[in-house]
């Protein structure tokens, strides 16, 4: 079975770009367009890796990650922020909430593919 990746971002272009970047490596990509949707999906389904944006309507990335980490089944799930936010203190906040990494947009497809491989192997 292909590894399942949850991609949470409010921008349709960003979601599509992540999908396109990872397509060749044959992952199953499930998408959510805000933090709340992502939280609901993480509650009921199992994922090998979660990408999450910071600035989103309804629920932002920080609250979303806090919620996901509070779920017993997601205590170990790799979570990586993929965001336009590039300030160190916001990144520290993400780290404190239990995320495993931080990527500043725009991402390059090749390094992203490599990162996914590393993260899922863990």
């Amino acid at each position: 079975m292909n590894s399942r990746i949850l991609s949470i971002d409010d921008s349709p272009t960003m979601r599509m770009l992540i999908r396109k970047a990872l397509k060749e490596d044959e992952y199953e990509i499930i998408e959510a367009e805000n933090g709340q949707e992502g939280l609901d999906l993480a509650q009921h389904e199992e994922f090998s890796l979660i990408f999450v944006d910071v600035n989103m309507p309804i629920m932002d990335g920080f609250s979303c990650v806090e919620g996901i980490r509070a779920m017993s089944q997601n205590r170990e799930t790799p979570i990586v922020f993929l965001t336009t936010v590039n300030s160190k203190d916001k990144m520290e906040k993400g780290k404190t909430l239990g995320a495993n990494g931080w990527i500043v947009k725009p991402f390059e497809p090749e390094p992203l593919r490599k990162l996914v491989k590393v993260m899922i192997k863990k």
Binding site: T13, S87, K88
Partner: protein
């Protein structure tokens, strides 16, 4: 005093009694000695009487002076009472005056707060909008380059297939492998067509959002005029109060006039922002329309190529010769197209920070508007520390801004200790 008087009265009575005894003795004995003693006693009595009289006179004067003093003391007390009443009246009056002054001060502090916050917020908004406009333009033109290249490669691909078709129709020798190879290369290019169609749909959604935001922000700059109106209103209120206060309010009246002037200037600046936004909106609409046209142009070319290829495959006889050149061409084109597409995909991510900045500039105006409205409706409940405007604008900005472009936009502004370049994450990926 009284005891002295009694003593004199006693001695006078004794002398009088002695005189009476001497007179009686002189009468009965008819002695000149007693008579002379009587005379001495009389002179004593007289001296005593004179002395006594003088004493009494002094007492009377003293008593009289005492009465006078008491009276003037009473008068003085009364005067003091009146004075103290007047004094406390004056104190009260002074307090009222002070309260009024503090009231005016408060109103003016708030008017100045509203005006300053508005002015600072407007500058931040203005800077942010300029960056948004510049970035949008960059994204539009950047991607336009890639789209143009994709479009011309699509044309090349069409030519290539056409040449291929001509050769096939000449009925050369069988080269099944070559055909398979060419077909797979062309199929590769066709997958780009799918990606591009997908991209067109999604990208259009985001770009529509950007266009909409630009128009929204245009409406928001109307809001800025509202804020200018509000601080003008505040100034008018204050000047009415100042006029009511009379001469004491003269200074306030001057400030109020000044405030009104300032808010007029603010209004005209915000009208200029509105005009600028209208221009930006037009420009973005225009380049967005152009871009949409080029995207559909690429899709058309690719669709044509696909149709031509299908026709070729259908009518393909088995005799083909010298296809190597066409196959290489097709391979080159497809590789190049993939690279261009990757670049376009990277650049298309730039719409995300732009969308963010637009949302933030709207929220900025919202926050400022909220603070000023709040201030105006609760004007008496606030006291105003001097640095409040500074800390308010700082709070609003640090709660909103998350993108380097936003910090860069306000770099030249005099808002200290907000963000330093050291706080920025360098490079793309950071693992914890």
């Amino acid at each position: 005093m009284k005891s002295r008087k009694n003593y004199f009265l006693l001695s006078l009575s004794l002398l009088t009694a002695t005189l009476v005894i001497f007179n009686i003795l002189a009468f009965f004995i008819s002695s000149s000695v007693f008579l002379s003693l009587s005379m001495t006693s009389i002179s004593f009595i007289l001296v005593n009487i004179i002395f006594l009289y003088r004493q009494d006179f002094r007492y009377r004067i003293e008593a009289l002076e005492k009465v006078k003093l008491e009276e003037s003391m009473r008068q003085l007390e009364d005067e003091l009472k009146i004075l103290s009443i007047k004094n406390s009246e004056m104190d009260d009056a002074l307090q009222i005056d002070l309260d009024e002054k503090q009231d005016f001060n408060r109103i003016f502090n708030h008017a100045i707060y509203a005006y300053e916050l508005f002015e600072k917020g407007k500058i931040v908004f203005d800077k942010l909008i300029k960056v948004i406009a510049q970035k949008t333009e960059e994204v539009m033109f950047d991607i336009s380059d890639e789209i143009d290249q994709l479009s011309s490669n699509g044309e090349k691909l069409e030519d290539n297939i056409e040449r291929f078709l001509k050769k096939v129709s000449k009925g050369d020798d069988s080269l099944e492998d070559a055909i398979k190879s060419l077909k797979s290369e062309v199929r590769e290019v066709m997958s780009i067509d799918d990606i591009f169609k997908d991209l067109e749909t999604h990208y259009n959604k985001d770009m529509n959002k950007i266009s909409k935001s630009i128009h929204d922000i245009k409406d928001y700059s109307e809001n800025i005029s509202d804020i200018a109106d509000k601080s003008g209103l505040l100034a008018i209120n204050a000047s009415i109060e100042a006029t009511r206060a009379g001469a004491a309010g003269k200074g306030f009246f001057v400030i109020a006039n000044e405030m009104q002037e300032l808010s007029k200037i603010s209004k005209s600046t915000s009208e200029k922002i509105y005009e600028m936004m209208e221009e930006i909106a037009k420009m973005i609409d225009f380049s967005y329309e152009n871009q949409r046209a080029s995207i559909s142009n690429v899709v058309n070319h690719l669709d044509n190529s696909k149709a031509v290829l299908e026709r070729v495959s259908d009518s393909l006889t088995v005799k083909i010769e010298g296809m190597d050149h066409e196959i290489d061409d097709a391979r080159d084109i497809s590789r190049e197209m993939k690279e261009i597409l990757d670049l376009a995909l990277m650049k298309m991510q730039m719409q995300d920070p732009i969308t963010q900045m637009m949302a933030h500039s709207q929220l900025l105006i919202d926050e400022i508007n909220k603070k000023i409205t709040d201030r105006i409706s609760n004007i008496k409940d606030y006291s105003l520390p001097e640095d409040e405007i500074f800390s308010d604008i700082k709070n609003i900005i640090s709660n909103l801004f998350t993108i380097q472009d936003e910090w860069d936009a306000i770099k030249t502004l005099d808002i200290p200790q907000l963000h330093s370049d050291d706080d920025v994450i360098e490079g793309g990926i950071e693992l914890f």
